[in-house]
Symmetry: C2
Subunit: 130 residues, 2 copies
DNA sequence: TTATCATTGTTATAATATAACGTTTGTTAT
DNA sequence: ATAACAAACGTTATATTATAACAATGATAA
């Protein structure tokens, strides 16, 4: 059962940076940004990232090894994620489309696999770049 | 226009290993497997992998940083890929489902982005593991 | 031939991520 | 309050994944 989540100090620092960013952030870029706050080691970043992902506060963009804040309030703990990614400017936008989400959540593989989670990444050129 | 592709020596070696494998292979695991064939450096592997991906002969499983051979003859140069991934045994299966593919290929983001490509990864437990 | 282009081999290094260990802090139960 | 436990922390070291840079070779075509 999901309880009201209280963030630890490091988790809050990392989340703030990611939320303020315009695009996806990489772990070491986050690290360099928080060294003034006394966080010095990759482990501290990765631990915070792991927890934030568990909580559904952020998502990992797998094709970029980078992290974005969750912008969709109804995104249930990263079980069903979809993103549009611009191949030119690197912009990433979280897609919350109920139909898409339902379609994929109910998709069942012929070979008898039952899915718990999916991640979908679209690539192309955003409005600005096309 | 796609021409009949001729593979170079290194490309062929790497493809053979990936095709013979039961599951996804990581770049360095491929490297260790081909050192007897005179390939000694990561660059040689990554270069072959890049070309093979371009040709649509293999795909990268982004969430695992690993590579699988393309099993679906109608998979057009990795423009529309979908996989089911077992979180227990690491099995990966390429999904070729025309409906799914059409649905996603025609999916258009509200914000005006036109997609060229997508990659979808489902996670769960395979038949054996559930 | 000469130019051009893909591929190769090689060394070095960058970028991403985890292991392992001990300490500190926060929570819960008595 | 205090003991017990779990979560988070700080730190050092190391593992894993990926690219840069450069020189040599091989294949293709004007
Ligand atoms: Zn989300
Ligand atoms: Zn763009
Ligand atoms: Zn394929
Ligand atoms: Zn399995």
């Amino acid at each position: 059962m999901a309880q009201a989540q209280t963030l630890s100090r490091n988790q809050q620092i990392v989340l703030n940076i990611i939320e303020k960013a315009k695009g996806p952030l990489k772990a070491y870029s986050i690290l360099f940004n928080v060294q003034k706050k006394g966080i010095n080691a990759p482990q501290q970043i990765y631990r915070a990232l792991d927890k934030l992902i568990e909580m559904g506060k952020i998502h990992k963009i797998e094709s970029k090894n980078a992290f974005v804040a969750c912008r969709s309030s109804d995104c249930e703990i990263s079980k069903a994620t979809a993103f549009s990614i611009c191949e030119s400017c690197e912009m990433v936008d979280e897609i919350s489309d109920t139909k898409l989400s339902k379609y994929l959540s109910s998709f069942n593989h012929k070979k008898g696999m039952k899915f718990k989670r999916f991640n979908l990444e679209f690539f192309g050129l955003c409005k600005k770049c096309k």
